[in-house]
């Protein structure tokens, strides 16, 4: 069963390093997303695994077989890697009908006509595009083209499926719909999916593991919820989650046993780690990370704030508040509408607030925060 291993893979375009010493293991049956801002090397990584791009250095193994190695000079061409690839812009051949597009790969496998026909109609039905078989791609809507592209990729039954931002050209509604379809497809085909996206929500909702990259360097490779709750550094914390995490800069020092006092402009806070004890230098510069859902607005809260603006969206409400010199974001379940400049009280709850080192950006500890 296919397992994909990348060892020390580096890709340079001239002087620019697109991917830097990447080590990654993608297990059989995983749905891995390569996530990151544009230009972070995620598409390059995918294209290298598929064989559309050759790494400058390193080694890639698929299913125990070396498909690329800069040392032994192995570079197996993409058609011999037994993979499927779904392109961002679908790459449907404009001069072929939907059926011809889907059957092209099967013809290359020298299937006989009858078998091709039944496979094509099976796929058309599976992706609910039966009625479009004779049409040309330009006569289809974006969503329909997307389905044709998926059908074409699935036709040959690849065990590994690569997808390069396949949903980014669809409108919001269709995108949500297709996300659900892709997740089902993953379960039904028992294949390994590697999926490139810059949309953290897609990564969160779809994948079994998320590989977050920045400027060619791997930041964190973990299940999405772990990435969400315990981001390895400030970049990851900032990139994942919407609305984004609150960051508060301050000075921390150890007081008592296992308690850290944090001095922030206008607020005094006590941090109790839950992930083991930590030691700070006196007055070490730190950054506090608090997810919006951990800031609870309510009458019982100890801290006082002023409402800056309220953004109700029906199911939930985003409230921007001003506490001391800090602008904070809170998410409240349900619809509430505060007046601008209303006075409110708030608390910090949960045990997954984070202390980052300001200098290195690294995650130092998770814990509870209390307002003094």
């Amino acid at each position: 069963m296919p397992e994909i291993i990348l060892k020390n893979v580096t890709k340079r375009f001239g002087k620019f390093t697109a991917v830097d010493k990447l080590d990654l293991t993608i297990k059989d049956g995983d749905f891995v997303t390569l996530l990151g801002p544009s230009g972070c090397g995620k598409t390059t990584t995918l294209r290298m695994i598929a064989g559309l791009e050759s790494p400058t250095e390193g080694e890639i193994l698929i299913d125990g077989k070396t498909v690329f190695s800069s040392i032994s000079g192995v570079d197996i061409s993409p058609d011999k890697r037994d993979v499927g690839f779904l392109f961002q812009n679908y790459a449907l051949w404009p001069h072929m009908t939907v059926e011809q597009n889907i059957s092209f790969g099967l013809e290359n496998l020298k299937w006989d006509k009858a078998r091709i026909r039944s496979r094509v109609s099976e796929l058309l039905t599976m992706l609910k595009i039966d009625q479009f078989g004779k049409r040309y791609p330009s006569e289809l809507s974006g969503g329909q083209q997307q389905r044709v592209a998926i059908a074409r990729t699935l036709a040959t039954g690849p065990k590994v499926l690569f997808m390069d931002e396949p949903l980014s050209n669809l409108d919001a509604k269709l995108r949500t719909e297709m996300r659900a379809e892709l997740k089902r497809l993953h379960a039904e085909t028992h294949s390994t999916f590697v999926y490139v996206t810059h949309d953290q929500l897609e990564a969160m909702t779809l994948s079994t593991r998320t590989c977050l990259m920045k400027a060619g360097v791997l930041q964190q490779y973990a299940p999405p919820l772990e990435v969400y709750h315990s981001p390895s550094n400030l970049f990851v914390a900032d990139f994942v989650g919407s609305p984004t995490m609150n960051f508060i800069e301050g000075l921390g020092k150890n007081v008592n046993l296992d308690e850290i006092k944090i001095a922030v402009d206008g607020l005094d806070l006590i941090f109790t780690p839950v992930s083991g004890s930590i030691t700070l230098r006196d007055d070490q510069e730190i950054v506090l990370g608090i997810r919006p859902e951990y800031i609870r607005i309510g009458d019982g809260g100890k801290a006082k704030a002023t409402v800056y603006s309220t953004l109700p969206s029906g199911m939930e409400t985003i409230v921007k508040i001003q506490a001391g010199g800090q602008a904070l974001t809170s998410v409240v379940f349900g619809a509430i509408d505060y007046l601008v400049d209303a006075k409110v009280n708030f608390d910090i709850i949960g045990d997954a607030c984070i202390i980052f080192d300001k200098e290195t950006g690294m995650n130092l500890a998770l814990g509870q925060l209390a307002v003094v």
Binding site: A50, D79, G84, F85, A91, H95, F104, G105, P137
Partner: protein
């Protein structure tokens, strides 16, 4: 609204006024001449009184039509044979240019060819240079003793006499036109290859298609519309080409429609010529109509977008250096060697003798002696050459200025009123001259303005007539440039100025023009360069007082004064290349950007 108010509100918008004026003027300058031409095919012209028995000038007659189409051997020689020659020459030229241009386009866009930038720049040269450049170079190299002169460089160097079929007529015309229009194919097909989404081919690779299969099933079908477009454009250009067949075909009496047109209009039977002009126009319109239909239908092919930055390049492996070297040699032969032969030919005293002691500066700065060229002085001392040069530049500047400005205004008005019937009419009228072969267009204006017409006095032999014909003929380039420039510009840019109360004139000169400077300027450049190197359009309309360089070149060549002709040709080529490069450096516009109509 009353009709009066409707007119007032219509006239308050500058683009409406421009549109209305252009509609009237262009109808008069393009459609009306066509009718006049058609009428000329049915009347007896003054020089034909002797041939059409018992008739008077101006009488109605079907004589010309009968002679051209239904008079056995006469029609054969007059029309059918030249027509068939035209078709054959054009078809083969297309083949040469598409195979050559397409291959080079693929190599440059899709392979790891060496020295790409040099090859791609120099490969375009033949198109920037006048079309007869290669024809003259061919003669310099391969001419034989047939036409009485001395043999060319090739025979001088090798001692091998070139056979007639190789030196003159069908074969060299095809080769020369094929090479001249290969850049057409290179630019059109290369454009598609560069913009074609690499994912389309990668998707096929992933699905285990072989290299040949990808080429035949994916790449070729996708570039096919561009190939077809190239085919039609090269075909119509070859069909209307005059200079090349005149230089290479005339020595062996190989006639095509354009040379036949020139002979008949300059001879005693203009009526025949007008019919041929009409035939060429009909063919031109038909070809462009087919082209438009194809482009319109397959539009979606060329607009495929995607991450084309990561084009996979085919590795030529062992062939890389040989192929690259071959192309370097080829482009040098085609683009640079001709210039050297012009220089060489212009420096030798007795044609055909390439020894050192035969070198002379007489044809450049000699005072002129009675035994060479009827005592013409060297071209740098010849006041008629300077007059011709002055006329050429004056004409090109005036034509470029008027055509460019009208084109920009037309583009503005057409885009602003897009969707209306008037807008479509003006757009088509402004493009119509493109369909007409230059020689036929010259013939039309000759027929229409040789005598007093409506309120316009006879313009025959005047500078104004040359300007007029140049402006109308090159308006398509300028209006295309203007339309493209305006299409890229959103309405809101101008409306923002309108809201602030900026008058129309200022909006044009301070907002719209500066933003799309390069596009608009190419609307001035294209007419300028085209005019500098134009022969077919002017050759019928020129009188000695307003000769331009190109027509002088043609006359010197006809008289067999090859040294003068080569010297003048070198002058023209250098001027054209110089201006094109200078303007390209300054504005980014270039003659080869105007390909494809």
């Amino acid at each position: 609204m009353t009709i009066g108010n409707q007119i007032k509100s219509f006239a308050r918008k500058p683009h409406n006024v421009i549109l209305a004026v252009l509609a009237v003027a262009l109808t008069f300058l393009t459609l009306f001449p066509l009718l006049s031409l058609a009428r000329d095919t049915f009347i007896v012209h003054p020089s034909e009184i002797m041939t059409v028995k018992g008739s008077q000038a101006g009488d109605l007659t079907a004589f010309h039509w009968k002679k051209v189409f239904f008079d056995g051997e006469t029609s054969m020689n007059l029309f059918y044979r030249p027509f068939w020659n035209t078709v054959q020459v054009s078809l083969w030229s297309c083949l040469v240019s598409i195979v050559l241009g397409g291959s080079v386009a693929w190599l440059v866009a899709r392979s790891d060819l060496r020295w790409k930038s040099f090859i791609s720049v120099v490969f375009i040269f033949p198109y920037i240079m006048p079309s007869w450049t290669l024809a003259m170079a061919w003669l310099n190299f391969f001419r034989n003793r047939l036409i009485g002169g001395a043999p060319g460089l090739f025979t001088a160097l090798t001692g091998i006499a070139t056979p007639n079929w190789f030196a003159y007529g069908f074969f060299p015309i095809v080769m020369v036109q094929g090479l001249h229009y290969a850049p057409f194919a290179y630019i059109l097909i290369g454009g598609i290859l560069r913009n074609m989404d690499a994912n389309l081919e990668e998707a096929a690779v992933i699905l285990k298609a072989g290299r040949l299969k990808i080429l035949s099933r994916i790449t070729l079908p996708i570039i096919m519309p561009a190939v077809l477009s190239t085919f039609l454009l090269v075909f119509s250009s070859c069909m209307s080409a005059f200079a090349v067949p005149a230089f290479l075909g005339t020595p062996v009496r190989f006639q095509v429609l354009t040379t036949q047109l020139y002979r008949t209009l300059n001879g005693l039977n203009p009526g025949y010529g007008y019919i041929m002009a009409l035939v060429m126009i009909v063919l031109g319109v038909a070809i462009l109509a087919v082209n438009q239909a194809i482009i319109g239908k397959r539009k979606s092919y060329t607009t495929v977008t995607g991450k084309s930055s990561n084009l996979s390049q085919a590795r030529l492996k062992g062939l890389r250096t040989p192929v690259s070297l071959f192309l370097i040699v080829l482009v040098s032969l085609v683009a640079i060697l001709p210039l050297i032969t012009f220089a060489v030919e212009s420096f030798i005293m007795a044609p055909g003798d390439y020894s050192f002691k035969n070198l002379t500066l007489a044809f450049w700065i000699g005072p002129g002696s009675a035994d060479i060229g009827s005592g013409e002085p060297g071209i740098l001392l010849n006041k008629y050459i300077y007059l011709g040069l002055w006329n050429s530049i004056r004409l090109s500047v005036v034509v470029a200025f008027i055509a460019g400005t009208i084109g920009a205004l037309a583009g503005y008005a057409v885009v602003r009123t897009r969707g209306t019937r008037l807008s479509a009419l003006v757009n088509n009228l402004a493009f119509f001259p493109y369909l007409m072969p230059s020689m036929a267009f010259g013939a039309i204006y000759l027929s229409m303005f040789a005598k007093r017409n409506l309120f316009i006095p006879s313009l025959y032999g005047s500078f104004a007539l040359l300007v007029l014909v140049g402006v109308v003929k090159y308006l398509p380039f300028a209006s295309r440039a203007g339309t493209n420039a305006m299409l890229q510009l959103s309405n809101e840019i101008e409306e923002a100025g309108l809201i602030l109360g900026i008058p129309w004139w200022k909006r044009m000169t301070r907002i719209i023009f500066p933003i799309q400077k390069a596009s608009f300027l190419s609307g001035y450049l294209l007419p300028f360069i085209s005019c500098m190197r134009e022969l077919a359009l002017f050759v019928l309309l020129i009188v000695p007082a307003n000769r331009v360089l190109t027509t002088m070149l043609f006359q010197y060549n006809e008289k067999g004064w090859t040294q003068y002709a080569n010297a003048i040709n070198l002058l023209i080529v250098l001027i054209v290349l110089l201006f094109n490069t200078a303007i390209n450096k300054a504005t980014g516009a270039s003659i080869d950007k105007g390909i494809g109509g």
